[in-house]
Each structure stands twice: as C-alpha cells, then as structure tokens.
C-alpha cells in the first residue's frame, strides 16, 4: 500500500506543462498542493464524471496528454466509462485510479467490493490498450515514465492508503475562478 501524496509526487516529475490533468476529490487537493498549474481541470461535477470529461478533452485536444486521476468510488459510479473510452480509443488518454477503498470525500465509508475489485482487469477487459497495477512506490517510480510514454488508452491502478478524515472546501474546485483559469490556459495553447 502506497501513500497517495508520494505517488502524486512521483507522477509530478513526469507531467509536463502541456499535459491536462484531471484530479478528483481528495486527490485534487493533494495534486494542486504538489503541482499547481493552469492545465489542472478541477470542475467535473460529481458522480464519477471525471473520466468522461477527460475523454472529451482527449478527443478535443489530441495534441495533448490527458491524465485523469480518478478515485475508485468515482470510477465505480461511472464504470461504463471504461468501455466508452476504450471504444473511442484516444491515444492521449491516461486514466489513473487512486484506489483507497473508501468514499473519502463522503465520510470515509468503504466502497462496495473494497479490496476485491480488479480495476486494471476491468479496464483491460473493456479494451484499454494497456493496464497496470502498482502497490509498491519504488516500482511505480521506476516505471511511470515508461507507462506515460505508451499509446493510450492506458489505465493505471494505484493501491493507496486512505488519507483519513477530510475537511476540504470543494467550492474552490468547482468555482468559476478555477474553471476560467483552465479555459484561458487551454485556449492560449492552441
């Protein structure tokens, strides 16, 4: 089991200024603390839609790598998005799930199938070009650069420990300031 913030720090070293990153819920707060940047796409509504927003961005901007940092609870709410992304098949689509076995933003209650669901297996069966699972930080650090060089759709399951009780201001993620900043940054990079 890895620590989420340590995984994100390892990932950060391979994310360029031109990549679009969509982190969800508690991962979003960890990510923007580690890597604040204009092309962080933070406003994806609720109920697991980040992967769908990411698919739209990947289709709309095939010149950019799109990296979704999903949660396991979020993905379970939108599990069909695995099939839709595989069907559309964008080569620039990288779908990570930080699997902590909890609905962390909503009280830390366990997800159904906690510890049993093979998310990488689901992605592979859905038709992702490749799917990986990491539970060891050193192994993740060694291989993440190569994974991000693969052709998408790529899926990565990160087995991480829950972060504990949450008290975060989600209005900041969904607010107009963050949305406009992203839109301006993406428009400037046409």
């Amino acid at each position: 089991m890895m620590k989420s913030d340590e995984c994100l720090k390892a990932l950060m070293r391979h994310v360029s200024d031109d990549d679009i990153v969509l982190p969800v819920y508690s991962t979003a707060f960890d990510w923007i603390a580690i890597k604040p940047r204009p092309l962080n796409y933070l406003a994806h509504g609720a109920m697991g839609l980040a992967s769908s927003h990411g698919l739209g961005l990947a289709l709309g901007r095939p010149d950019k790598r799109v990296i979704v940092l999903d949660g396991d609870g979020s993905l379970l709410m939108n599990i069909g998005s695995l099939v839709s992304a595989a069907e559309a098949g964008p080569k620039n689509f990288f779908h990570f799930v930080c699997e902590n076995g909890t609905y962390e933003a909503n009280g830390g209650h366990p997800t159904p199938g906690r510890g049993l669901v093979d998310f990488a297996g689901l992605a592979r069966a859905a038709g992702y070009r490749s799917a990986h699972t990491f539970s060891d930080l050193q192994n993740f650090e060694q291989r993440i650069g190569a994974v991000l060089a693969e052709q998408g759709p790529v899926f990565v399951d990160l087995k991480v420990a829950p972060s504990g009780p949450q008290n975060r201001d989600y209005t900041m993620l969904h607010g107009p300031t963050a949305r406009q900043a992203f839109k301006d940054a993406l428009t400037a990079r046409i």
Binding site: G45, A46, M47, L49, L55, L59, G60, N78, S81, S84
Partner: protein, 181 residues
C-alpha cells in the same frame, strides 16, 4: 436507460426528415455526436449519422457520461451534440444540473421523446415520462425547443449557435420519429 415499448402512436412516420436534421447539425458545425441509442431517432438520425465520417459518432454506455464528454469538448472549443432519449435525460439530471447548468456550459442535447403521440404537445402526452420533461427543464432553467415537423428544423442551427454564444445548455426535443430520408 432506454425503454423500447411498442406503441401505435410512436410508430407514426412522416412530417420530419432525418436528412434535413442532419444537414442542420452539420450546418451548426457540430464535430461530434455523442449518443446512447434512442428508439425515436434510431432509424432517421442515429443510423444515418453512424454512416457519416463527420460528425464523428461517439458511442457511450450511459447518458451522463455524454454530459461530461461534451463538457470536455466544449473546453476545447469543439462543438458536440448529445443525442439521447428522454429516459436518459431524466437519468442524467444531476450531471446536467452540475455540469451544464452550474458551470454554464454549452451542452446541446437532442432528445427523442419516447412514445410521444405525433401532433400532441409534450405536456399533453398520455405518457408520464414525456409529460414531465418540459416542466423539469423549466425548473432547471434550461431552454428547450420542440422539433416535430420539418418547419421546426430551421430552429436547430440558431439554437446551437445561441447555446455556444451564451455558453448555456439547450435541449431540442424530437417529437416524432424522423424519416430516414
């Protein structure tokens, strides 16, 4: 989230040309059609669209996914149309609320009204699932237009242009099965 129930009224064909609707979609500079199949628009719209190279058809598993995909595309300044059934719209109300309305995004939806009787206003339909659609959209503050006859097709391009110009969602309700020609 689509129901396919036989109905004599819904089987009526005529008065609405699918090819004209497709021409209007193309004239609106729609690059992507994102869809879960809908029986009202299945033969007259979706099947011919699937044969076209452009706009690109993105097949999805569930309608709320489409709201997210269209939002991502909107941020890329790429125009998209979400082609679904009223059952799928009802299932996606929270996504439409959170993403389309609260983020003020130009999510353009074309929604087949399952089993609406041709010539009958949606709110006068005998079908509960049809009757409630317009009042729900009104409650959400979402503009909507009924596309029931060929004379309504002229609304499509300006409706889509306006949604993008004002960055607001819009719903075009397809009131009868379009003919494939």
């Amino acid at each position: 989230m689509n129901l396919q129930l036989p109905s004599a009224g819904d089987a009526a064909v005529g008065g609405l040309s699918g090819s004209r609707i497709i021409d209007a979609i193309k004239a609106s500079r729609i690059e992507f059609v994102v869809s879960v199949p809908d029986i009202t628009t299945s033969e007259g719209l979706l099947r011919p669209l699937a044969r076209e190279r452009e706009p690109r058809l993105i097949r999805i598993c569930k309608e709320d996914e489409g709201v997210g995909i269209c939002a991502g595309l909107a941020h890329c300044q790429r125009r998209a149309l979400l082609l679904i059934q009223n059952t799928g719209l009802l299932d996606s109300v929270n996504a439409v609320r959170g993403v389309a309305v609260e983020y003020s995004l130009p999510i353009c939806m074309m929604v087949g009204l399952l089993e609406k009787e041709p010539g009958v206003r949606p709110q006068q339909s005998k079908r509960y699932g049809v009757r409630i659609v317009e009042p729900i959209l009104d409650a959400m503050g979402i503009a909507h237009h009924l596309i029931e006859d060929d004379s309504d097709v002229a609304k499509i391009a300006p409706t889509i242009d306006d949604a993008y110009a004002r960055s607001r969602p819009v719903v075009m309700l397809i009131g009868r099965r379009p003919a494939a020609s």
